[in-house]
């Protein structure tokens, strides 16, 4: 019975896959709307010169607003799972018992400052070439993960107010900018930046986001990796 079901599912999805491929090959290019051209023609009004950033933070900035909320939400879900535990720097003790990690530690001390620099650079160039808050945040987060793995940075427990502030800082900046623009510059219009100050506002938002995204992404790892220690502590 189980096997029959499995076979059925596989056949069904094989058919679906083949249909998908056939459909993709058959498809005519769109003739009515040419969005990428519109992006290029409106690029000047967006405040940035890199099209992807323009889409991400201006044309479809609303998506991004919701998306960072999704990220925070996932972190909330993670936090709800880790429960209360004391913040203890067991990590170093736990991991450094393995000698080869000493090498890693040395490497990390070299690499992390570099990564922070890279994040800053990515953030800055995002306006005119590939890069931006997400990539910068991800690099920051990766730095955090490395620090944790090498035992420098302990795993996080229940966040205190300062960490919480850091986690939502960028999101609040985003919301505040949106609200401020709506009250001051273009009343009743959501996320409609005045073209003159759009670049500045986007950079402001991106800076906030870089910090918070970095913290949130790092948090996904740092909060989770703690429960091995928690089990250790229980024993």
């Amino acid at each position: 019975m189980k096997n029959l079901f499995n076979a059925l599912v596989i056949v069904l999805f094989a058919v679906l896959g083949l249909t998908l491929i056939w459909v993709i090959l058959e498809l005519q290019p769109p003739t009515h709307v040419h969005l990428s051209k519109q992006v290029l023609t409106q690029l000047d009004a967006s405040g940035v010169t890199h099209p992807v950033t323009a889409v991400l933070l201006n044309f479809r900035g609303y998506d991004t607003l919701l998306e960072v909320m999704v990220l925070l939400l996932a972190l909330l879900g993670v936090l709800a799972q880790i429960g209360k535990r004391e913040q203890r720097n067991l990590s170093a003790w736990f991991r450094l018992s393995q000698p080869y990690l000493q090498v890693l530690l040395w490497l990390v001390r070299m690499i992390v400052p570099l990564m922070v620099l890279v994040a800053g650079y990515l953030l800055w160039v995002g306006g005119h070439q590939p890069g931006g808050a997400f990539q910068a945040g991800a690099v920051l987060a990766a730095a955090g993960v490395l620090l944790n793995l090498s035992g420098v940075l302990p795993s996080w427990a229940e966040p205190a107010w300062n960490l919480r502030t850091g986690l939502v800082f960028g999101l609040l900046v985003f919301l505040l900018v949106a609200a401020a623009v709506m009250v001051v510059a273009s009343p009743g219009l959501l996320l409609q930046y005045p073209p003159a100050s759009a670049g500045m506002l986007i950079l402001l938002i991106e800076m906030g986001l870089t910090l918070s995204l970095g913290l949130i992404l790092a948090g996904l790892f740092l909060f989770l990796s703690g429960d091995a220690i928690e089990d250790e502590a229980e024993k």
Partner: protein, 481 residues
């Protein structure tokens, strides 16, 4: 003129962030205050819709297809009003509930506020990719809430729920990708006319299929209902109420929207019949399983499975060639949606109080509840009246409209299903009531509960009951947009 639309999006997000900032278990008061403000905004918006009709709102001022468009019409207005009216009593309830039982309170408030934000954004969105993001926001918030209770049962349910809902979103997003590939836009306002004007390619068929299947998965229509009862049945009661009353309605709303706005050129009667048939199966199967449950909250959760079925009967009925029949089918379906949301919130809230008082989720322990918590039981019964579709509830008006649509179209099969479904729901509702009327078992002690826990359920049930008398307003708002 003051425009509440952007505030309805920004404010709940801000509440969510602030509630998180406030810390563990905090934010109840903020939620209450925030919801009152939002309810006021929603009422303003509904009045605007009623007077000026549907309208578009271009976020960022770019306008579709470059930017993201929002769209509000009567249906949006009804849904927005509904979620705020349902949530406000539940906020009061949840504050009292978590003061009795701290389990699961952790990040309840920010999660709930984000849930609301997601629904607000979802109902107003007119951009299928933006809808994908709101769907994810909604799903992750819902899963986080289910898992917050923090024992093995709820977590297993939450994992299942998460995987199912991710699969659903995946299928939906694949559909979006295909549509973008075909037409070069993700805006409903652009796509709708394009679909109607051009020849439909196979890709669009496939996209429609994927998107609808994904949403059906999230709506838990039979046979995709397997994840719902454990998730809704094992979450803390305020969460169950929110999920059962509102969250599944969000994906149903999307189905409705896509069905009529986007895929209207390619819906056929057999597909509609198929959806109706699944709905009918859901009604019968869900009701029977609800009756067989031994846990109160599982019973209520299975009742949701059954009640969802009614919503899907409107698809075949809408295809009837008689305009009046089609119209009353839509009206009936929407009334069912509204009435069920109110009643199910009331029912879960009442069930939560009873479980709290009995100490364990077991129908057999309810003996004597009628003298211990008469008000809560009364609320449960009133909510049951709506689910059974008995007058004067909103559920009755819904059933009246649906049945009259089916009768006018000569669709006797659907009539039989609805009648039978009503009787079956009476069976499971009265299973609980009968048990509660029995004299208490010797030695069983009920814990006293705070009075403030009892009133929200009663209020919600009362609204769902009296809704029947005000259904004219709801339907005129629905038609006005």
């Amino acid at each position: 003129m003051f425009d509440p639309i952007p505030w309805l999006i920004l404010l709940p997000l801000a509440w969510g962030c602030l509630a998180f900032l406030a810390g563990v278990g905090r934010g109840g008061r903020l939620a209450f205050a925030g919801l009152i403000i939002q309810l006021a905004l929603t009422i303003v918006l509904a009045r605007q819709i009623a007077m000026e009709g549907a309208r578009h709102y271009a976020v960022g001022g770019w306008g579709a297809p470059l930017g993201i468009d929002l769209y509000v019409d009567g249906l949006t207005g009804v849904m927005l009003l509904l979620i705020h009216v349902v949530t406000l009593p539940l906020v009061v309830y949840a504050r009292a509930y978590f003061s009795c039982q701290a389990e699961g309170v952790g990040y309840f408030w920010p999660l709930t506020l984000f849930l609301l934000a997601a629904m607000n954004a979802l109902f107003m969105s007119a951009d299928i990719f933006n809808i994908y993001v709101t769907l994810e926001l909604l799903s992750l918030a819902a899963v986080g809430l289910v898992a917050a209770a923090g024992s093995a049962g709820p977590i297993a349910a939450a994992v299942r729920y998460l995987l199912v809902t991710l699969l659903g979103s995946g299928a939906y997003l694949m559909g979006v990708a295909l549509l973008y590939g075909t037409y070069g836009s993700v805006s409903l306002t652009v796509l709708g006319p394009l679909l109607a004007a051009t020849e439909i390619s196979a890709a669009v068929f496939l996209a429609a299929m994927l998107m609808l299947t994904g949403l059906l998965l999230k709506t838990a229509l039979f046979p995709f209902h397997f994840w719902l009862p454990p998730a809704h049945g094992s979450a803390p009661a305020p969460v169950s109420a929110l999920l059962s009353a509102l969250v599944i309605k969000a994906s149903f709303y999307l189905i409705l929207r896509l069905w009529f706005d986007l895929f209207a050129p390619l819906v056929t009667i057999p597909v509609a019949q198929l959806l109706g048939g699944l709905g009918a199966a859901a009604i019968l199967w869900g009701s029977v399983l609800a009756f067989m449950q031994v846990r109160l909250k599982m019973l209520v959760a299975y009742s949701t499975v059954a009640q969802i079925g009614y919503l899907f009967l409107l698809f075949p009925l809408m295809m009837l060639p008689i305009p009046e029949a089609a119209e009353s089918a839509l009206q009936g379906g929407m009334m069912q949606l509204v009435a069920h949301a109110l009643a199910k919130a009331a029912m879960f809230a009442a069930a939560g109080v009873m479980v709290l008082s009995a100490g364990k989720d077991d129908i057999a322990l309810l003996s004597g509840m009628s003298s211990h918590l008469p008000l809560t039981l009364f609320a449960f019964a009133l909510a049951g009246v709506t689910l059974m579709g008995l007058p004067p509830s909103g559920g009755f008006i819904a059933k009246w409209l649906l049945i009259s649509s089916a009768v006018n179209g000569g669709q006797w099969g659907w009539v039989a299903v609805m009648i039978l479904g009503g009787l079956l729901s009476a069976a499971y509702v009265f299973k609980v009531l009968c048990q509660a009327f029995l004299p208490p078992v010797a030695g069983v002690k009920f814990k006293p509960v705070r009075r403030v826990l009892e009133w929200p359920a009663f209020l919600l049930a009362l609204i769902s009951l009296l809704l029947g008398f005000r259904s004219g307003e709801i339907l005129s708002l629905l038609g006005g947009g």
